[in-house]
Symmetry: D2
């Protein structure tokens, strides 16, 4: 396979991110098929045409079904609002396309299960946009854990915080509606959960507390409307290996912009990481000499693959968008039959969804809930 035909549905935040990845993956990695940017779908023909010109796609349409029907399209990027994921992904799979779908998988658990069923039936490759696991830092942490660099992991803490819901006087919008989901739990929780799955094989038991910083918000009519989702979630949990853990989520945390703070405690050391400084991590090893022990701040470098594919010099730094290029490369590896490709397929994605719903249940019932 020397080239692969690409279709892109949606060109918002993540749609553009996919487009940049499809343009960059071959120049960065050099290997694999060359993406041929075949078809782009947007809500109007005009916008679709404009974005196709910008992003380098050959054809454009306002009918996503036409894109899926296009025989030249072999893989479809689904980057539309969450409510459309299931329908589009299932249609694409049924049309025999590989699917690269943004997270979260779907709005409800039943939909996610149908996506998994469609994926199984199709035999095609599926990948969800859990790009944080693609960070060379996270990959290197997994390598260190596997080598026992900090011994046996006995406790973890994950925090994810941003502040786009922090202003109490910002207008009520769909993220505060119950139809959008639980709130921080599905909006954010899936990211730390993807990291826990990647690093530790997932969680087995959860106990959550959901909370609302603001009971209501201003509505367009000048009044106030009751908030229906929880912008904050705090969760106790147990990892598959038996370690205890905590996860804290807050999408109304003033000053946090893209924080995913990770602390991993082991019998022989500790690892810490924060996505806001995504090009470094902290390592403490108990084996260091007593008077010179301390957390090392390790900058990413060519030795942390695949950083080397981007930059041959250490400490120069990757960006958020470049994680998507790595994800795209892993997807292409999976399509090419590489079983070691590091993607979160629909089956694995369902496990993440399962954990999210177990958390919501534990909140409602005020007790621990097993994940499976």
């Amino acid at each position: 396979m020397t080239s692969i035909g690409v279709g892109l549905i949606g060109t918002g935040y993540m749609g553009k991110c996919h487009a940049l990845a499809w343009n960059g993956v071959k120049p960065v990695f050099g290997d694999g098929p060359k993406p041929r940017l075949v078809h782009l779908a947007e809500v109007s023909p005009e916008l679709a045409a404009r974005r196709a010109e910008e992003f380098g796609f050959e054809k454009s349409t306002s009918d996503w079904r036409a894109l899926i029907a296009d025989p030249e399209v072999e893989v479809v990027s689904v980057t539309t609002p969450n409510a459309f994921h299931a329908e589009m992904a299932i249609a694409a799979l049924e049309a025999g396309k590989h699917v690269w779908c943004e997270k979260p998988m779907a709005v409800g658990f039943a939909e996610a299960e149908r996506m998994v069923a469609a994926a199984r039936a199709s035999g095609k490759v599926t990948a969800l946009g859990y790009n944080y696991i693609q960070n060379p830092v996270i990959r290197h942490i997994r390598k260190l854990l596997g080598e026992g660099a900090i011994g046996t992991v006995n406790h973890v803490r994950f925090e994810m915080d941003e502040d786009f819901m922090a202003d109490p006087e910002a207008l009520f919008y769909w993220k505060s509606e119950a139809s959008s989901g639980y709130g921080a739990l599905d909006d954010f929780g899936v990211h730390p959960l993807s990291l826990m799955q990647f690093l530790f094989g997932g969680v087995t038991r959860v106990m959550a507390q959901l909370s609302m910083p603001y009971a209501d918000r201003p509505s367009r009519d000048g009044g106030r409307r009751k908030v229906e989702t929880w912008d904050i979630a705090s969760v106790l949990l147990e990892l598959r290996n038996g370690a205890s853990g905590a996860m804290a989520l807050d999408r109304s945390a003033w000053g946090r912009k893209g924080r995913i703070a990770v602390q991993i405690f082991g019998s022989n050391g500790t690892i810490a990481y924060d996505q806001e400084r995504m090009n470094e991590f902290q390592l403490f090893q108990a084996s260091d000499a007593a008077a010179e022990q301390g957390f090392r701040t390790i900058l990413t470098a060519p030795v942390h693959a695949p950083y080397d594919r981007f930059i041959p010099a250490p400490g120069h730094g990757l960006g958020f968008n470049e994680l998507k290029i790595i994800e795209c490369h892993e997807l292409l590896k999976a399509i090419g039959g590489d079983a070691a490709a590091q993607i979160v397929g629909f089956e694995q994605g369902l496990e993440i969804e399962r954990a999210v719903h177990a958390m919501a249940q534990s909140h409602r019932e005020g007790r621990w809930v097993a994940v499976d």
Copy 2:
């Protein structure tokens, strides 16, 4: 009152810290009675004599009851192992002395209640060694919260981590015995709880998960002994003002040495602080201009009382021991009748103990427990 007679029982870690405070409080603050260092008690007459000479006490004894009986002693520092706190503090109160007792208050809740009863009966001043609330940073944070600098607090996170129990091959000792208490919960949890009490009036509802990083540890006889305490605790909680929160404790967290990390989220900003860098804190205010918003790292300065009593220049830094000097000064203010003195008396200390025991109960029962 121009002077006050001081007795000191115990000269270990905290005993020396009290001794330094009694020596330093008058030169630092200039006001209040001059402490007269009257009597010091230790386990042997020789050690007592040596420490008395070093710390500047006039008399020494191996019989702590003699110290308490000494009419020249007006206030007694109790810095012995936790198991002795109740007996000594009650005896001192019954002898009509003020008592300055190290934390945690007592090993069991019943003992703590008897201490409160003795304090009430005596009419004397009692103070517990919760020195972290004395940090000028913490005092200034309380001031900022009171002024609404970050709006209404809606969520908090407290972490306390050290690594003195982190080595799985360190010999079993009393901190792993059930008789010492729950583990991290009483050993550490009382400190964050003292901060929550000082800043927010305490907690009302808790849900804890206790865990053991190591099931057993080497014993002196060459075998291994089962661990009976939980070195790790993770807690969901609710503050008196209704805000949600989380508390995470780990005394086996490699690389953490004196970490008490605090995050306070409000409707108009965020405050963060870490005791390992005790001379600074972080403040984010939503009212800053959009393109120049960020966490400010604020160094302590004379404007943050009572830093000014130690150093007239900003950014030069106080030390851990100096918090105890401030605590000592607050105790002397309370003895002098100042109702605004910032100490944790036995009554308030009992509330902290109550929360600790509620957490342990919630762990056993797998459900939320009200602190009341």
Copy 3:
């Protein structure tokens, strides 16, 4: 102009970086002509063909003159070793092409002067690869300085440090030969100087000290060879606005990987920045309230143009390679006739070279040297 024909000479570190920029600029920015990747030159036909396939170029050659002669090529990226810059750039200009040349401009000052002459004669656009000025952080700092956010600048400090020459037992290679230039001064100094030019209009007076951490290095024949360049340089300087400054360079600074640390002191505040954490900067403003003064850590965000063209959410972070995409966009703006495009043309580049040579002279003569 809807498209522009691109030629790329060299595909090493910077060659690949240019290739990624040519691929990414249109999808990221959406505006301007679409780069048509016409011709790529490398040292062998095989390598040229392989890279052309990877980077998406239509034609390849081992004869860079053929590339320059190609009428479909309108702009040429010159990313070969420094010794070739002048010859290639001049040839391209004489052939009527725009030129995007990597820094440093040339090995000697006379060569750089010839490049300027050729640029003037051609009337074409020239740009040097000073990509650090393209960082949205640096652009925002310039905006803040222009608005007087920190008052009148009275002092600056610039440091640039890496450690690729730090190992004394690494084999002698061309960077230690006098023919390569002075050492840190031209290898590194040009970067801080590009920032000083961008932010302050350049330097007027310099006084440098060059030093060698290692007198000799192992040679391939098993002996040792005398080092002829200075890996360390420390410089006193005066900015065009009269402010004093210091610049420190060290390419043998263990642990520094891509450090460009900037401190700018003004009459009303201070700005600090470090390229190793290229997505944030520090701002202190004297106008903040006394008890809440401190350096703000400001994360890049859409409000810091052109970050918004890459990511619509704040705090997610750009990477080093993405600076080159911004540079490429500025070059295209300049080619399109936009006089406000922010590039360092050959004329401005010559001023940077002039400062470098003045520094070397001041070292030799042990005295201050005026730059112009």
Copy 4:
């Protein structure tokens, strides 16, 4: 010797700091003679009496000569304004007292030379208040350098910055008068120079640039007065071991409060330190594994003597004032005949002064000046 009689002249910033040290040194260290606080001198009898009561001195006086004449006084703390240092120190030495004098030594070089002559003639112990060398961090850095932990040092950078002169609209006061000295050079420069002496044996060659951020300042009469001192100094230098270095001083650096930033580069690693975070330092060692290399943040701990004398637990932190207690202990060791005591005596202090004056000369003459 079981006790030593102490006299204290001056009770301002440093006077109080000495008083705290004299009160704390015995309780902290336990060894050595017990300071007997005999006599205190201040400008008025009332102030002297009040401070004597606060600080625990037996007698007080407004006549410093009476204090020096007091036969019970064996060692004199001189903490008055710089202009009085020479006269008082010489008088005390001539009266057969040991002298602990604050820095800088004296206003002019000739005065400093007379102090050295008096010290030599007396045979008494002299110590200058260079307390930063007493930081356990700095001591441990010296130990590491001695052990070759970072190989051969080839380059250093020292910065010292505060902002008490940063406000251009603050009233003109004596620090802007030529009679006070050069400005930042003697006010600040002596501190980094004391560290360079302690760590590297001092400097041999210097080249300085002095600058004024503000040409004039408001005067009390409502007009403006010309500034006569240089608030900023930048210096190139060479250490005794041949390493190159740079020193940057700024007492008008907004936001810097007590910054003394040190970077030490060696053939096998790098050490960094900032006095604003005085309880930690950074160590990079080239011998660490390639993928886990990084600067370690090392918190002070009991293993870094004499931290252990203050606190038995790591990471809890000393304060600025406690450095003076260590200095006091070193002085007492020197008085007790311990040749290894780490103090800066008048002879060593004169070398620091010599370097300062050489720097001023190099600025005037625009050339390098040898220090001795």
